[in-house]
């Protein structure tokens, strides 16, 4: 049975109150709902709460009581988190424990990262990122390392040192092409250091530019250029415009691989490839 402590209801710092409880019970019993569906149906049953229905709904989402679970007609559906086919109980995990987990998760993906890199990836501020680092250093789960020609300290999971050492002794050849989407994990994680590490300053497209996809072209361990991709739903064409390539990477073999990879993407989108000639930089 749900209990609501009266003092908390009246305390502005504890915004979940009896109205939230009514909303939660309604979602748990009749959900899942899109936000609009919830507002409509909840307001019929509780007309006095009509004006705050949407706020109650999003409060419950922000507080982890409900979660997005699939969708209906391009709208997200939300349900009580207990309805997931997995026993999730957010109250069993502390914020500090979760932050340590996410810090380590970040390092497991990217390897040596600076405090700023980790803070940027998660959205934490530097102070809180340093706090978590301190705990993990003390627990000997992370270690400080240096990267050649970099002054800043980098940190790595202790368990990943073996792979780094292995790669130091035997670095594989790399000649594959990947055409990365704007939000690809590589571009997100390395956003501030793409030029420094991968040799090309790819910029995330701003809304005002009206660009849906500024593809970053990865060739092995280098970013070698970019292109604007248009693939409108109503068009048969997958258009590669404003193709820019670093001149030191231009060869017939690489050009063929790039075209081949764009062709694969076009086929994946069920479209016909149209590709501009590259501009060399």
């Amino acid at each position: 049975m749900w209990l609501v402590e009266e003092p908390h209801i009246r305390n502005a710092h504890f915004p979940l109150n009896n109205n939230h409880l009514l909303a939660f019970n309604f979602i748990e019993k009749y959900g899942p709902f899109t936000p609009s569906e919830f507002k409509k149906l909840f307001s019929i049953k509780f007309p006095q709460l009509k004006n705050m229905a949407r706020k109650l709904f999003y409060d419950l989402y922000n507080y982890g009581k409900i979660a997005r679970m699939g969708g209906k007609k391009q709208k997200p559906l939300y349900h009580a988190i207990e309805k997931l086919p997995y026993k999730l109980d957010l109250s069993q995990i502390g914020e500090k424990e979760a932050k340590e987990w996410l810090f380590l998760k970040c390092l497991s993906i990217y390897g040596p990262f600076t405090i700023k890199d980790i803070a940027h990836w998660v959205g934490w501020n530097i102070t809180e990122t340093k706090e978590i680092l301190g705990i993990l250093l003390e627990k000997k789960k992370v270690k400080k390392v240096k990267i050649e020609s970099h002054q800043e300290n980098h940190y790595v999971r202790v368990e990943d040192l073996a792979l780094l050492n292995l790669l130091s002794n035997d670095l594989p050849e790399s000649s594959f092409i990947r055409i990365l989407f704007n939000d690809d994990a590589l571009l997100l994680g390395y956003y501030r250091r793409l030029r420094n590490y991968f040799g090309y300053h790819w910029k995330y497209p701003q809304l005002s530019e009206g660009i849906v996809w500024r593809a970053a072209i990865l060739y092995g361990r280098n970013l070698i250029g970019e292109a604007i991709v248009e693939m409108y739903a109503k068009s048969r064409f997958f258009k590669v415009k404003k193709l820019i390539l670093r001149k030191e990477f231009v060869s017939s073999e690489i050009s063929f691989k790039i075209e081949d990879e764009f062709m694969r993407h076009a086929e994946f989108q069920n479209k016909i490839l149209e590709m501009a000639d590259p501009k060399l930089v």
Partner: protein
Amino acid sequence: MVETYSKEVVKEFALQRLRLTPSTLGKNKNDVPSVVRAIGGLQDGGHKIELFNRFENFKPEWFDYWYENYALIDGHVLRGALRIVNVDEYPYFFMATRSVARRRAAYQKCPLSFK
């Protein structure tokens, strides 16, 4: 002693962990959750392109299968952006990013239980 690594080593590490190198690509539907887990989730919107780059021959319905069965769910984690993560990792992503969410407008201290 502090170990020093070259940039090439660090990049190769990241590309392997991000499942972008040929030897780390996924092969079939069953690999979708492990790929999503390995790369820290997918950004909602371009997620199928992100997966396409990490499989030998990706089919969009492979993602749909896991999403429709709630093995993958989306939530506003990591910088407040909508991200698709493995369901068992969702509580950690969610709780670890409450400080990020609290800095946003109209967000107050989050009680985790009504009790």
